[in-house]
């Protein structure tokens, strides 16, 4: 198809339809993913979904409760969650089944949790991660389909993607996250005025033209190429939606308080105190990104799988300690490596607390969110991937029961991913591949 687009023509064409600063008609953007009205109308606020990852597992005998059900036992390494126990589920005894695939240390476990697929080679994700699938369901009407964040400061630190080896890169600094969310392009939902950005309008218009072009391209290529183009088209659709959102006056949101700018001079490294601080800053920004409805899906990576956390001034990494430090036969664990786990649980609690501190009507932001937290291994010294520690926090707007320890009894970990998707309204009744293919969601927690 011959195609000639000048910037002037595009602007003219688009502006004919919506070049006004007031009186924008009610669009779907005012609705959440399930068609219910947003908070400003007095109805339920949107449901959010997120992940929180930490590397190098736990000491299983000091973390997992002994018995399934409510009021579960808080062993020493789980004790920090005490104040939020009623809003947190613990999921244990869910296994990664490899079907003969190698156990890629610090890689296979996380990928299997997120995709329900056993990796066969160390090349990103083997399939679409469930946060992306959920994002396609609930995250299409926000400025960002999702936000990926790495508190340890590594943009490659991610377990989110559409597969094919690709990963959604993470924001690696608090300043970067601030700029992305609250910098240029941010429209304060509580601001009295609203002016669509002409640049955004132009981009949206160009994409409309591209849409026509891609239909022509679709007709010209074979099935294999169509498949290859699918990820590209998905990204285009996502961009279109995001631009639509940016061209629409947002609903006022009481809980949204635009945060102060974050200094770009903060250190970014693997020292635990630095990571704790950056995690807290990024958590606060992420919480406001949710409260201001900039995104409804997020992925927070506290550290990486083969954790490069260190103590201040030390060169010995968390990962190194899990392998080099001998198990103390009297204690039953590795005390130096366990120090980092203690700090990680502390960070997790601070994350949950930040979500729970934002009021949304009778509930909190945490109540309207479903967060799944997990590691990539059960016990790092041996790279075990059965019984990977998993938690959920929040009820996802009342869709999930909380305060339970669910014993998976050795069933596939893909049951957890299936459950997350079903809780978030994804139309899926079977998920995972080979031995991890399952249609058995966790009915214990689904409302």
């Amino acid at each position: 198809m011959a195609f000639d687009l000048s910037r002037r023509t595009a602007l003219t064409g688009f502006l004919k339809g919506s070049a006004i600063t007031v009186g924008v008609p009610l669009l779907d953007v005012f609705l959440d993913g399930n068609g219910t009205a947003m908070a400003a109308t007095g109805a339920a606020p949107p449901v959010r979904f997120g992940t929180w990852f930490w590397g190098l597992g736990v000491n299983p005998n000091r973390w997992f409760p002994s018995a399934a059900g409510a009021d579960y036992e808080l062993k020493p390494e789980l004790a920090p969650i005490k104040d939020f126990q009623k809003k947190i589920n613990i999921l244990g005894n869910f296994n990664v089944l490899l079907d003969g695939a190698p156990n890629l240390p610090h890689i296979s476990g996380g990928a299997a949790v997120r995709t329900g697929i056993a990796l066969t080679a160390d090349r990103g994700l083997p399939g679409e991660s469930f946060d992306v699938t959920i994002g396609d369901r609930i995250g299409t009407r926000t400025r960002f389909r999702s936000l990926e964040v790495s508190a340890i400061g590594d943009a490659r630190n991610s377990l989110s993607g559409r597969g094919g080896g690709n990963l959604n890169s993470s924001e690696a600094t608090p300043a970067g996250l601030y700029t992305r969310v609250f910098g240029a392009g941010f429209q304060d939902p509580n601001s009295a005025s609203f002016t669509p950005d002409p640049v955004t309008m132009a981009r949206r218009s160009v994409l409309s033209a591209v849409t026509e072009q891609r239909h022509a391209l679709d007709a010209a290529v074979g099935a294999a190429d169509k498949q290859k183009l699918d990820q590209y088209y998905t990204a285009i659709r996502q961009l279109e939606n995001q631009l639509d959102v940016e061209l629409t006056k947002p609903e006022p949101l009481k809980a949204c308080v635009v945060p102060h700018k974050v200094s770009a001079d903060l250190p970014v490294n693997g020292e635990i105190e630095t990571v704790m601080l950056n995690h807290q800053l990024m958590t606060d920004l992420l919480v406001m990104a949710l409260a201001c409805d900039q995104t409804r899906v997020f992925n927070m990576m506290f550290n990486n799988g083969a954790s490069s956390l260190t103590r201040i001034g030390s060169t010995v990494t968390h990962h190194q300690l899990t392998h080099e430090e001998v198990l103390d036969n009297k204690l039953g664990y590795q005390p130096q490596a366990t120090y980092f786990l203690t700090r990680i649980m502390e960070a997790w609690v601070s994350f949950v607390k930040a979500l729970d501190s934002v009021k949304e009507g009778d509930r909190t932001l945490l109540d309207n969110t479903l967060v799944i937290a997990h590691s990539e291994t059960e016990f790092a010294k041996f790279h075990t991937i059965d019984n990977i520690p998993i938690m959920t926090a929040g009820s996802g707007g009342g869709r999930v029961r909380t305060g339970l320890y669910v014993d998976g009894q050795g069933t596939p970990v893909s049951r957890v991913g299936l459950t997350m998707q079903q809780a978030m309204g994804v139309s899926v009744d079977r998920w995972g591949t080979k031995s991890m293919e399952t249609n058995k969601a966790l009915t214990e927690i689904l409302v």
Partner: protein, 402 residues
């Protein structure tokens, strides 16, 4: 209904295992005697099943150690950082140990792991000349008499070596791998009661990666029977465990007719409740969870016992308990850490070159007639196996191969 001791038909094991209990995962069984010197009296022996078929799944397959630090009077083998510091003068070592010099020390001991041309002590352990680790100096060890030479001369194709006595009184024990490596932290632990190798091994068997089964055929007597067929094999099926970390009994396992699994056919004899097998090559899976197919870590390793044999006692509760022993090719012993490359040295602090040098020094089997150097080392692993249904589906009469 299928009962233990008979071939299960079409048995399918639920793929899954409960979590290892803390005690199961983090504590070993270093103090447990791996085998009685004598079998049970006939009156206490269980009767063999009418079919003559008995099946077992191996619940524990772990290195043998005699616990206690007196076996290692010079202490445990140092981590690489400490090993490097020992190459320095006392003053320089003390300087580097100071907190403010940690970064310098890290750079130095990391450099100690590398050599010319990008070599490192684990990928190319034979290119380095590092000090040997302290050996076990006790006269006690668990194991088997593999060469039948009480003098310690090594027999017709071995090398001279010291013989051990087992804590339960058996003499002539050959276990030079234990002598060479029994003072490493992975085996000894920081207090002598057992190290990570003893506690971590069970996970691999629980996960199905290494799961082993033993199938006995033609068993007519547990008192005296000289014609028992023993199938010692790997299975892809996963055991199930109870909430104390113990394998559940009576489950079904299949020795598959396809897949990279080993199936060893051995000839066995039973005397007074003790099963022994004739020497033969024994190969068993050893997948250490190391890496993918695109790098060398994706290679699968194996336990290969030259002149391997079993010595297993029938227990009143129906289980089997004892040892598998044989001569292991030297590099096999460290292959998993070697495949980990520089990461094994820098992350876990393991010096593969010191390990290999020790194995070479104490090697006692498979003497190369050309060089006179022994190329394998005597070894033993403790086995505990519980009753199970074993579905044996061999493709051919091929033995001891994939």
């Amino acid at each position: 209904m299928i009962r233990p001791g008979r071939l299960g038909l079409g048995g399918v094991v639920i793929a899954g295992a409960l979590a290892l209990s803390g005690a199961g995962l983090l504590r070993g069984h270093a103090g447990a005697s791996p085998a009685r010197a004598q079998g049970l009296p006939p009156a206490r022996l269980p009767a063999p099943p009418p079919s003559g078929v008995m099946g077992f799944v191996v619940e524990n397959f772990v290195p043998t150690i005699v616990p206690g630090m007196d076996s290692c009077p010079h202490g445990t083998a140092p981590r690489l950082r400490e090993e490097y510091l020992r190459t320095l003068t006392a003053d320089e070592a003390a300087r580097l140990r100071r907190k403010e010099n940690e970064k310098e020390l890290t750079n130095l001991w990391h450099a100690y792991a590398f050599g010319a041309g990008g070599t490192n002590i684990c990928s190319q352990p034979d290119r380095f000349q590092h000090a040997l680790f302290p050996p076990v100096e006790s006269k006690f060890a668990y194991g088997l008499d593999l060469d039948g030479d009480a003098s310690g001369g090594g027999g017709k194709d071995g090398c001279a070596h010291g013989k051990f006595v087992s804590p339960d009184g058996l003499s002539g024990i050959d276990n030079q791998e234990y002598r060479a490596m029994g003072c490493e932290l992975e085996l000894r632990g920081n207090d002598g009661s057992g190290g990570d190798s003893l506690t971590g091994m069970k996970q691999f068997h629980t996960s199905g990666e290494w799961t082993q089964v033993i199938l006995l055929k033609n068993v007519h007597s547990l008192v005296k029977d000289d014609d028992v067929e023993v199938i010692y094999a790997n299975t892809a099926d996963r055991p199930e465990i109870d909430n104390k970390g113990n394998f559940l009994r009576g489950l079904s396992f299949t020795v598959a007719d396809k897949g990279a699994r080993h199936r060893n056919v051995l000839k066995g004899h039973i005397r007074d409740g003790v099963l022994t097998t004739d020497p033969a090559d024994i190969r068993l899976a050893e997948t250490w969870g190391q890496g993918g197919a695109r790098d060398i870590r994706g290679n699968r390793t194996q336990y290969h016992y030259l002149k391997g044999r079993l010595r297993l006692a029938f227990e009143p509760d129906g289980s089997l308990r004892g040892l598998v022993g044989g001569y292991r090719p030297l590099f096999d012993v460290i292959v998993s850490t070697s495949l980990g490359g520089a990461g094994s040295a820098l992350v876990a602090g393991i010096d593969c070159s010191a390990q290999l040098a020790g194995l070479r020094k104490y090697a006692d089997g498979a003497r190369d007639p050309r060089t006179g150097q022994c190329t394998a080392i005597s070894s033993a692993m403790r086995i505990e196996a519980v009753p199970a249904f074993i579905n044996d589906l061999p493709t051919s009469t091929e033995t001891a191969l994939k």
